[in-house]
């Protein structure tokens, strides 16, 4: 506890001294960079470290990943439910390669901008060739927290498993809304709070047993209840939220960690303890195996939250004004209520 408190105070004093440095300089760029980042609050995730992890993951990741493929497929399937076509689309973070590979002309996309925080990931997706050649692909390296797009320039934003590493989610989503054209669509899949529940439990137990204290090993994630509020808070119209749970099976906990590493999903919480003792790791794997394993190996839960929202436009359906109804609810009940009672008789 004492150690964590000192870490917290150190982070606070760092932020204060950085602010003093920025305030004294007259450069607007430095001031804006600071103001956008961490005014008044600490960053939960270490974005610089996340970028390095994704650089590494670019070399570890195969073109096929069962989890990323199925989530991407499920999300892109929703484009077929829309009647309109989306000319310009942004593929924002997360499984960039998989979206590029699996889009297959869905949603009438003609111009696809692929964006990721890691340059190596972008290089790898540039190498990947797709079967459909009528899509123009563009590539940029960008941060979801600082979306580099003009207001009203995009028809569609797709993000597959990228938004759960963003520090300021409401601001990031508000930026997405401004970058969209009116009646543009925002589609995202992100990991929810139930994800890696088993790993969270076994790491906590192992750390308590071996080191007498716990540290954040699995990052905090968005709960389903908050996802809808996020969409409406960012100003999206017709928000839709649904969840899916995937159970992945692995031979042991070590393979699970290998898979997470290849997806670039390792721990990047800024307050993490940077080392892990070998005995604690082995203890965690053993606890995982005994609590959540069977004869075939172990299982891991991935809860995925699918979000969809639209930038408001007058043509969209909306609720009528209060008091504008011409028929009373009582009359409706009379009409339908009677027929129902007759039916039951």
């Amino acid at each position: 506890m004492g150690r964590r408190l000192t870490m917290l105070t150190r982070a606070c004093s760092n932020a204060v001294s950085r602010w003093a440095l920025v305030k004294s300089s007259s450069n607007t760029y430095l001031q804006m960079r600071f103001l956008h980042g961490n005014q008044e609050k600490l960053d939960i995730f270490d974005r610089v470290y996340k970028r390095r992890q994704r650089d590494r993951a670019a070399w570890l990741m195969g073109t096929e990943d069962p989890l990323l493929d199925i989530v991407t497929e499920n999300l892109l399937d929703r484009l077929e439910d829309c009647k309109r076509s989306f000319h310009t689309a942004l593929n924002m973070g997360g499984a960039v390669m998989h979206v590029k590979k699996l889009l297959k002309g869905r949603g009438g996309v003609e111009k696809l901008v692929n964006m990721d925080i890691s340059h190596d990931m972008i290089k790898k997706s540039m190498e990947l060739s797709t079967s459909s050649s009528n899509i123009e692909n563009y590539y940029i390296v960008g941060d979801e927290e600082f979306l580099p797009f003009k207001a009203g320039s995009l028809d569609l934003i797709v993000s597959v498993l990228g938004l759960h590493w963003v520090n300021d989610l409401p601001r990031a989503m508000a930026q997405c809304r401004t970058a969209l054209k009116p009646d543009g669509m925002f589609l995202a899949a992100m990991l929810g709070g139930e994800t890696l529940r088993e790993l969270r439990i076994s790491c906590t137990l192992a750390e308590m047993e071996r080191q007498g204290g716990i540290s954040p090993r699995v990052s905090p994630l968005v709960q389903v209840q908050d996802a809808g509020n996020l969409l409406t808070g960012a100003g999206f119209a017709i928000p839709t939220v649904d969840t899916d749970k995937y159970i992945m099976r692995y031979p042991s906990a070590l393979e699970l960690i290998d898979h997470l590493r290849s997806m670039g999903e390792c721990n990047a919480v800024s307050q993490r303890v940077k080392s892990l003792r070998r005995e604690t790791a082995i203890a965690a794997a053993a606890i995982y195996d005994s609590m959540f394993g069977d004869s075939d190996g172990i299982m891991a839960t991935f809860q995925v939250i699918y979000l969809a929202g639209w930038r408001p436009h007058p043509s969209q359906q909306s609720a009528k004004k209060r008091g504008s109804a011409t028929v009373s609810f009582e009359d409706i009940q009379k009409v339908f209520g009677d027929s129902q009672t007759e039916d039951t008789k």
Binding site: N27, M32, V113, I122, Y139, L154
Partner: protein, 74 residues
């Protein structure tokens, strides 16, 4: 050159992409400088690199232009 096959194809930034992009901080349009091969945000005085046709638009990677350079490039 043979090792990085994409280097030959994309030397500069394409027009179709440039019309969408804005400065990640000020959200104002960017200008491509042919001489330094960088994207420049005039209002903030910052240049963003373009590597093999891929613009690196991350705020911490921006290069602050001093006044002399700024007047030269424009």
């Amino acid at each position: 050159m043979g090792f990085w096959p994409w280097r030959k194809a994309a030397a500069s930034i394409s027009e179709g992409l440039l019309e969408l992009l804005a400065c990640p901080l000020s959200k104002e349009p960017l200008r491509y400088c042919n001489k330094s091969k960088e994207l420049i945000s005039d209002s903030l005085g910052v240049a963003y690199k373009v590597v093999d046709g891929v613009p690196i638009l991350i705020p911490t990677d921006g290069r602050i232009l001093d006044q002399e350079n700024k007047s030269q490039s424009s």
